[in-house]
Amino acid sequence: MSLDLEMEEIHKIFFEESFEGLDVMESRLLNLDVNADRETINSIFRAAHSIKGGAATFGFMEVSNFTHGVETLLDEMRNGTRPVTPDAIQLLLQSVDGLREMVKAVQAKQPIDTQRIAVLSDEIAQLLARHPGRPAPVAAPAAAATTAVTTAVPAPVPVVDPAPAFLQGGPGWVIDFRPHRDMLRTNNEPLRMFAELARLGALNVVAETDEVPSLESLQADECYLRWRLELAGAVEKRTVEEVFDWVDANCTIAYQYHAGGAEASAATPTPVVVAPPPVAEAAPVATAPAPAPVPVPEAAATAGAAPGPKATGGDAGSIRVSTTKVDHLINLVGELVITQSMLSRFADGCSPAELEKLREGLTQLTRNTRELQESVMQIRMLPISFAFNRFPRLVHDLSRKLGKKVELKLSGEGTELDKTVLEKISDPLVHLVRNALDHGLEKPEVRIAAGKPETGTIELAAFHEGGNIIIEVKDDGGGLHKAKILARARERGLVAADAELSDDQIHNLIFAAGFSTADSISDVSGRGVGMDVVRRNIQDLGGVVQIASHEGRGSTIRIRLPLTLAILDGQLVRVGADTYVISLVAIVETIQAQKDRLNAVPGSAELFRLRDEYIPVVRLYEMFGVEPDSRAVEDGLLVVVEAEGRRFGVLVDDLLAQQQVVIKTLETNYRQVAGVAGATILGDGTVALIIDVPGLVQVFNDSFAGRSPLAA
């Protein structure tokens, strides 16, 4: 591996850990609202400190400089010299956002939004300046560090030293730097640190060689030298300390400040011994120099564990694995499943003598492959708390902005789903929660007038239901205004003026593109770009979104998602010589179609009377341009599917088996095909296409361009 690549890898870790640290900061800051205990502030401080240290090490100076201000603010809160006010929390939250943007920009190698950062830095500086009790650069950290003076390894620190001649009566630092023997093995290079010090001012380095053993007993990778460093200039203690940030655990350092002039000895503060925290190994980045002895910095834990005590367990003993490795494993297991079903078919044509043994073996293989597949799939699963964690912050900010009182209830954060699903569901969820807050919940005065509690509730829940994941966004607000929606839809020509719609159909209108009933457009919502995107995103994941609403009582949006994107429970259907797969989730029922129940409407879809409902008939052979066994409806079967809140009858020649299929994309080597979600490999090794039901309905509707399906 070349050095560049190695650096790239290390940077990647830094970015990942920074984002995790920022998540920790954010969630803890939100908790500060409630209780500002020392430990919480400490954990925020540590996260900030790690980011600053890492950024400085890799030369991301903007990040490091900005974080410095944040850290100072946190440090004062931690020491109790600054009260924890809502304004300060707000500023810190904004700083976290700013930092996140900055780190993202650095990661993408793009320019940083310096203006925004400058504004934030200013605000922090102002806040810092406003407080009179700002500690002197040395005294306060000293107080904080006293708890840490525990097991100082031989630390013969002289209390008062005469100012060395090198400083020539001016201000400066004398640093007694005693590395532990193993410091060099932790990749810490004293020369580099000295070079950094030299940038702060004139530096005089004196090496003490009295501990160097004879050549026979000398270990090449141990550090026997000690140094006395004299640094001229009135440098802040923090700046000096920063240079030794990474070796904190591997050395004993004493700092001594000489203010210079006559008052030198009188003003000399007590020297500070920074003892190593009891962390066995000092991997860079992971070990934040923690003044209070904390076993492992929280920043190292995954972000999922962020919200305090009710966090989901199981984060311990986790490893970081690249998703490509996992995906490769999943592909291999998928192959295994296909091979196994291929062998099963082969067994059907075997001689009776060997058959019994072969069957036995195959049964076992089937069980093993299924188990293997399930546990491999499990690797990609993450708790939904990863998506839920951003909502306390979002609701906090938004309710402030909108002047509404909201209580956010989360449940089922431990429910696990596929990483890809999780990533893609986050944005739609944000839309839904924003909508619930902006459109759903009423202002406190309206709520009181309606006899409801002043504080509205938004519930986010996740749970399993029959092989699917259900996510619900529920509010106790005003609900959807049916009359208003219908009027707006008629105005926009989405619905024919005389059409009679059921409640469900009216509710589903909010998913139409560009639909909005908000009286005014705000920066929160109301542009009508949200809900159609939400539905499309959920459909892309193979999911379904439903809405239930009662005027005056609130709405519930229910999202049903498959557990994974890699496997689908499918119904195999046949049209002519071709086999297709339809997701079982989309199928309502399958019926034998009678000719007399079919009505042809000129220039529009054929309608089939299914009990008391008329459903459009989608002739699959027409859509896909293949030759069927028969074009007569009564010879085939109608697979009734549900899409966009409506039912459709898909005409096929025959139903084949139901089976789990491994989904493969067509896009890797070909491209996206309308009406096709992907392909799969069947037991006989041939490829079958998987039908994208909403996409197929789209193609179908487009073939009657200009006519709204709702008007039909």
Binding site: Y670, A674, T686
Partner: protein
């Protein structure tokens, strides 16, 4: 079925200023593709048809777990279609597309030879005279008194996949 890279031809010498090309027959002409792009050569098998695809895309096949589209090159070049015979093969090539590497199979009449073609011997394509759209021709080369048409495989395949064009819309 044989692999193209395992060719033990003694005439071949690797030189900095030359490239190795696999040639194949299509109608009366011999075409050449950069051998480094050839992943394998396999026999023809029925492909699963894809809706809304151009007529020269025969469908997709399962190539050890990957879904690979198959192009009939005769149809792509608007040559007269013939029945697939015993020499009909699928040359599986890797091409570079804006979205990354993609694997595609091309049905050709027969594979011929592997030649060393010096870059100096490659002439630019003529404006007229070939049955192939010159946009897909990298150049012409004469080897052993035969004219080879060197194909720009990236352009040929990527244009065939109709990237970004939705046929159904």
């Amino acid at each position: 079925m044989s692999t193209a890279t395992g060719n033990g031809d003694k005439r071949l010498e690797t030189a900095e200023d030359a490239g190795q090309y696999l040639t194949f027959q299509l109608g009366r002409e011999e075409y050449a593709v950069d051998i480094l792009r050839v992943q394998e050569i396999k026999g023809w098998e029925r492909a699963t048809r894809i809706p809304h695809a151009p007529d020269y895309v025969l469908g997709v096949i399962n190539l050890r777990g990957a879904i690979v589209p198959i192009i009939e090159l005769r149809k792509r070049f608007r040559l007269e279609s013939t029945e697939f015979g015993p020499t009909t093969v699928v040359i599986v090539v890797k091409v570079m597309s804006p979205r990354g590497e993609r694997t595609v199979g091309m049905v050709v009449d027969a594979v011929c030879e592997v030649y060393n073609v010096a870059h100096a011997n490659v002439k630019p394509p003529p404006e007229v005279g070939s049955s192939v759209d010159t946009a897909f021709v990298k150049g012409l080369a004469t080897v052993e008194n035969k004219m080879l048409i060197l194909l720009d495989i990236d352009r040929l395949i990527n244009s065939s996949m109709l990237d970004g064009v939705d046929a159904a819309a």
